[in-house]
């Protein structure tokens, strides 16, 4: 149940180590804190292995990648997997440039993340790149990326969480759908990255990555729904999302959650 995970996060305050992009660092740190987790951001090669050893989840996000950061992500990711710490990868912009697609594929292969969380375009771009086929990606709806997601999930033994108007979460066998959220989430920067960070927090407390990924998308969507009810636009909406992540009650979560397949 979503609430069980939320209650555990609030009670245990799991440390979530993030190597993420410059744009959203502040936002995702605040989202993790609002949810009840303890974020740490650290990317120095000298310390990432030690830092990830203190954490209960690792979040990798290539939104503003450069070579040095990719090295840190790989090193931290490999160390996390060796210790059994769940790793969530957000392949931001995979498919937009050849470099991003290549780096995202490299992280998939070397780190073998527990959960990959992206939008339909990113997931399709990764699957196409892996299959060796060519083609301009035009996917927009998460449903159009379900086959791609499942192919990735099977090839890499991971959960794939595809965000969209309906979020679709797949592993090799199961499929879940989350019908929470509001359009305003697309009008603030980093709402996808925030969902990824929250996925890390849920993976820290739930031994099933499939459930963790699903609950994170529901939590993000519900926070958006609550925030949208009193927001006057995207600026106030952003602030109210943190309030909602922090204050959402069991009753609200159970009433609002629209989860299928978990």
């Amino acid at each position: 149940m979503l609430w069980d995970d939320v209650e555990r996060i609030r009670a245990e305050g799991p440390l979530v180590h993030n190597i993420t992009n410059y744009v959203v660092m502040n936002t995702t740190a605040n989202a993790l804190l609002a949810l009840g987790a303890s974020p740490v951001m650290a990317h120095a090669l000298e310390e990432v292995e030690e830092m990830v050893g203190l954490a209960r989840a690792l979040v990798l996000n290539i939104g503003t990648l450069s070579a040095e950061w990719v090295d840190a992500m790989t090193k931290a990711g490999v160390a996390a997997r060796r210790r059994g710490i769940p790793v969530v990868l957000d392949p931001v912009g995979a498919g937009a440039t050849a470099y991003r697609t290549r780096i995202a594929r490299g992280l998939l292969a070397e780190v073998r993340p527990t959960i990959v969380r992206g939008n339909a375009s990113e997931i399709r771009a990764l699957a196409i790149a892996e299959s060796g086929t060519r083609g301009v990606d035009s996917a927009h709806a998460s449903e159009e990326a379900v086959d791609a997601g499942r192919a990735l999930a099977r090839a890499h033994g991971c959960v794939v969480s595809i965000s969209g108007a309906v979020d679709v979460i797949v592993d090799g066998a199961q499929t879940a759908r989350v019908r929470n959220g509001v359009p305003l989430l697309a009008r603030i920067t980093g709402s996808g990255c925030t969902a990824t960070a929250l996925t890390g927090a849920f993976a820290a407390v739930n031994a099933s990555p499939f459930q963790a990924a699903t609950h994170a998308m529901a939590m993000m969507g519900i926070a958006g729904e609550i925030a949208a009810e009193s927001a006057g636009g995207p600026g106030t909406f952003q602030a109210l999302i943190f309030d909602a992540l922090s204050g959402a009650s069991r009753q609200e979560l159970e009433r609002r959650a629209r989860i299928e397949g978990v």
Copy 2:
């Protein structure tokens, strides 16, 4: 007309590629999204040329520059100009240190930006550096930098947009003035950088860089005016600016715009 540009941005969601400073990345991404544009932040040398090829405008901002970032700005800027994509340069802190002045001059020479947007001190510092004269800059009012702006505009074939209590926009021949805005804009970080980012969005949809620069300053000023009416201080003001950028109606824009010379 300002409204025509805003309507096009909202309808077309032009991709604006930003290579900007760490302090304002989140703020300018949110401002672009609120206005209706699609921001992307990317600075890796491996991908900037490809990324800018997807964009309809490029924004370069040297607020927290370092050597590697300057290389990326130059590479992206040259690629953008080659493809006819408008480039907006914000020479943050030119004149404050010799390094910044040198880098800003280098970008002017190598990239040949379409629009330079800075405050009076920065524009004067650049013009003084170019003319080879010496002198401590003490300019504060944008009017005191008009001659400097025009000299820069003529030397580099660009539009120069000088922010201040009154914003002044010049090219080799024309002069526009924008009398929108509120003092509170100087009490939040990155309001100048946000104006620069918005200038990129307007340049993406308006073929006249002179008009685009002018409309961007009006939009920023009007958003500030609307936000100030219900803000309790700089924190709530910042959130309300995004709301205003997103929600401002044709009627509000036409009633508030105080633009001369366009």
Copy 3:
């Protein structure tokens, strides 16, 4: 008196040079602006010495450190001390990884900061590392770090400001306590870093680093108290902190300040 410092900051707008972490750059810049100071963020080796020469205080924060940034911090710090400009060091995460502890110790030794501002764990970790003893740190309350803080203060001739439910500020001889603040401050990212940045602003206008450090903690705590009164959660709280820093009146500050020992 706290108010005298606040009035001077608002009147003089001292330039505070920050070399800080990616997560909080925007937040601390906005906090300094809200208080009335003028923040500048600059880390390029080519310019930090020149930039710090323009400033009235330097703030060093190792929250997302990497080798290049540490070099810039050292260079700027040494230049600042040579010119008599106060330096505030925030040893974020000292004790969490060996790298951070080593870097923090290096900055202590090479820069000899005027004020060290950290939480109890960080201050204890530094003192333990300096004393050569071993031990897992489990300090949580600032009172448990007072001896450690005093040892550091004596060894390095600095003021040590330890944040917690009660903030304790020590130098070699004196001890002050600040009993302002609210628990919500721990639910937003960068509230410690913001206190550090404010400490820079107070050190810019108050010749006593001991008083400056104490007043900064009181100001931060009071802003939190004011903000918490109308916040709906951590998101709106963050925005309201900036409003409170900007708007707090003499009367409010004098009524709320709970400072002992200054």
